[in-house]
């Protein structure tokens, strides 16, 4: 390390612009709301212009001060960041502690050739170190530097990861993305759209809820509609249903394409590298040995067509979610090589699945029956006692759900891994490496003690893993097996 590199440095000056724009963007909605609220008092353009100017100045000055007061040092053993306009904070992150380095490029930063460099420590969102913004090349250089430092400290890793560099494990074509988007149909977006239409209808040049207007637009002769009567109503319902599905599907497709455009997962010498994003590009590297567990997820409809999603569980965070999506929409034969590259195995025909205790699900069905029972008792004493039957109809449904849950739940353990599969409509499969588990807990509530079953919680770095309703004796056996494999492991192998 040269002397120059040890001097405190500032981030890229152009980053001030990105910071200013994003702070203005954040305040534009509250400001618009404020201006709208006060429009009676100061109903003129000058006021609006002054307000906008004030926002710009505050955003710009704030962003500049932040940049001016932020310095970082890339030291021999750690990266140090000093920041804060009024109160100063200094943070030092040793290279050893850095889980991974990710580069994120929001749209504007990308246009300016900048990137936010995030050093993830696994301490959870707030406690990680972010340098926003550095030139992209500098970010890439820092990432290489961190990886080299780490590899120096952990020489065992390099040998384990000696594979052909930059081998593409999984990529998504635009066609695949569009298909993925169709399955990501979002009802939430529909609700938001309908709500917005109702709230903001004064902004639209016509009344959304005015059927006469729509009839004019659609140019349907009035007298024929009067003749048709109920048919028209059915037609209206159909139109609404169609509009809702169009909104839902479009939102799903657009969101998916924005997030996962150009999705590429590579196996490099140092781990897994994932790039994705249309406007907000992200480039994440996960060292293979830091993958703690796998999550295989699907939904009931896409499962009919064999589509599954794979996530890596590790201490690092992935853009707000806990686990890294490495193959969000793939067939099993595409997922299998990724799983093997990470040193895991998917359950197969030879997996010795065990079923959970049936008693636990009966207990839960009985407990859940109490929920509709309360309103039913209330209704029985109301003026309409017959209505009490209505909530009771839910009881068979709740019981049926438990039957489904029992039918799907299973767990297995082999020499190297533990497997759990559960879910109601679609199975969710978790695979964890036995040696990477942190602790084992057998928990029993009052009902579980009577029924002789227990929940086996396995401590997993960056995630949770629990086997529910395992017969007690079996839970003990599994605990001993897991503990034995943890205790046998030499620490230098794990790192």
């Amino acid at each position: 390390m040269t002397g120059a590199a040890l001097a405190p440095r500032r981030t890229a000056p152009l980053g001030v612009l990105v910071g200013a724009v994003s702070s203005i963007r954040q305040s534009v909605f509250p400001a618009a709301a404020g201006a709208y609220g006060l429009r009676e008092a100061f109903g003129n353009l000058a006021f609006v212009a002054a307000f906008a100017l004030l926002l710009l100045v505050i955003g710009g000055v704030g962003s500049f001060l932040k940049w001016w007061r932020t310095t970082y040092v890339v030291g021999a053993e750690d990266i140090r960041l000093e920041s804060g306009v009024l109160s100063r904070a200094a943070r030092s992150v040793p290279y050893e502690r850095i889980q991974d380095v990710s580069l994120e490029q929001p749209l504007l930063a990308r246009l300016l050739g900048l990137a936010a460099v995030k050093f993830e420590t696994g301490a959870g969102g707030k406690d990680e170190l972010t340098l926003a913004y550095l030139p992209l090349a500098e970010g890439a250089r820092l990432r290489e530097l961190v990886r080299d430092r780490k590899d120096d400290a952990v020489p065992a890793v390099a040998a384990a990861a000696a594979e052909p560099a930059g081998q593409v494990l999984f990529a998504m074509s635009p066609k695949r993305l569009a298909l993925f988007g169709l399955f990501e149909f979002s009802l939430a977006a529909v609700a938001v759209a309908l709500g917005a239409a109702q709230q903001l209808d004064f902004l639209l040049p016509f009344d959304v809820w005015d059927w006469d207007h729509w009839r004019e637009v659609l140019d349907v002769p009035t007298h024929r509609i009067a003749e048709l009567g109920p048919l028209v109503q059915a037609f209206a319902a159909l139109v609404i249903l169609l509009a809702v599905s169009v909104i839902g599907v479009t939102t799903g497709v657009v969101r998916t394409i924005m997030r996962d455009w150009g999705f590429v997962l590579e196996r490099t010498a140092k781990g897994f590298r994932r790039r994705r994003g249309l406007f907000n590009k992200s480039d994440v590297v996960m060292p293979a040995h830091r993958v703690q567990a796998l999550q295989l997820r699907t939904r009931w409809l896409r499962r009919r067509f064999g589509w599954q999603g794979l996530k890596f569980v590790s201490l690092a965070q992935d853009q707000g979610s806990g686990s890294h999506a490495v193959a969000p929409f793939a067939q099993l034969d595409e997922i299998d090589p990724i799983v093997r590259a990470a040193g895991f195995a998917l359950p197969d025909a030879a997996t010795d699945w065990h079923r959970p205790a049936r008693r636990a699900f009966i207990d839960r069905a009985v407990l859940s029956a109490a929920i509709p029972l309360a309103p039913a008792v209330g209704l029985a004493f109301s003026p309409e006692p017959l209505l009490a039957v209505v909530p009771l109809l839910a009881i068979p449904l709740l019981a049926l759900r438990q039957v489904f849950l029992w039918h799907r739940a299973r767990h297995a353990i082999d020499e190297r891994h533990v497997y759990a599969s559960h879910g109601w409509l679609a199975p969710r499969i978790d695979v964890a490496s036995r040696v990477k588990l942190q602790s084992v807990e057998i928990a029993q509530g009052p009902l579980a003690r009577r029924g002789g079953y227990a929940t086996l919680h396995l401590g997993l770095a960056g995630g949770t893993l629990a086997f529910h309703a395992v017969p007690l004796a079996e839970a003990r056996r599994m605990r001993d097996a897991v503990l034995d494999s943890i205790a046998r492991l030499d620490f230098s192998q794990l790192s």
Binding site: E441, A443, G445, G459, A461, R476, L483, L489, F491, S495
Partner: protein, 158 residues
């Protein structure tokens, strides 16, 4: 506890732990008892209708419950793992291998200090059971256990 037979016997917590639990229970019961006393003096219901059941349950909470809670707790310090058992209704039995301990806390709150007790907390990297605490140890025992665990942590696992 027939289901415990096949396992190693647990080490019970220090006898002073019962006293600590009793003081804590008494502190909890105090406001309720005072409130009951006020209601009793106000004379809304026949004499003793409030204070008698409240005093009886307070006595049960202070005298009986701590004994049972104490009996439900225990630990086992193995050669390479720490086992912590607790919970009367919601029973839990946790094992933390020394090799997975990230760091160790030894704490004494004022009440614990009065009884010469300490709480040993081991932290792991797991999201579940990120910290497992074992209260009611004699101060000297807890310090010795901390040293023993620390001797086993050759190197961090993460």
């Amino acid at each position: 506890m027939d289901d415990q037979d096949e396992e190693r016997a647990l080490t019970p917590l220090h006898p002073n732990h019962v006293k600590l639990l009793r003081v804590q229970a008494a502190l909890m019961a105090l406001p309720v008892t005072v409130a009951a006393l006020v209601l009793e003096i106000a004379g809304l219901l026949p004499t003793g209708a409030i204070i008698v059941p409240v005093l009886l349950s307070a006595a049960w909470v202070i005298l009986r419950v701590p004994l049972r809670r104490h009996a439900a707790r225990g630990y086992d310090m193995g050669s390479d793992r720490l086992r912590v058992v607790r919970g009367l209704w919601f029973h839990s039995d946790t094992v933390v291998p020394f090799g997975r301990v990230q760091h160790i806390d030894l704490s004494q709150r004022p009440l614990e200090r009065a009884f010469g007790l300490a709480t040993l907390t081991v932290h792991t990297a797991g999201t579940h059971n990120s910290s497992v605490s074992l209260p009611g140890l004699a101060q000297a025992d807890a310090a010795a256990m901390r040293e023993a665990i620390r001797a086993h942590i050759k190197r961090e696992t993460l």
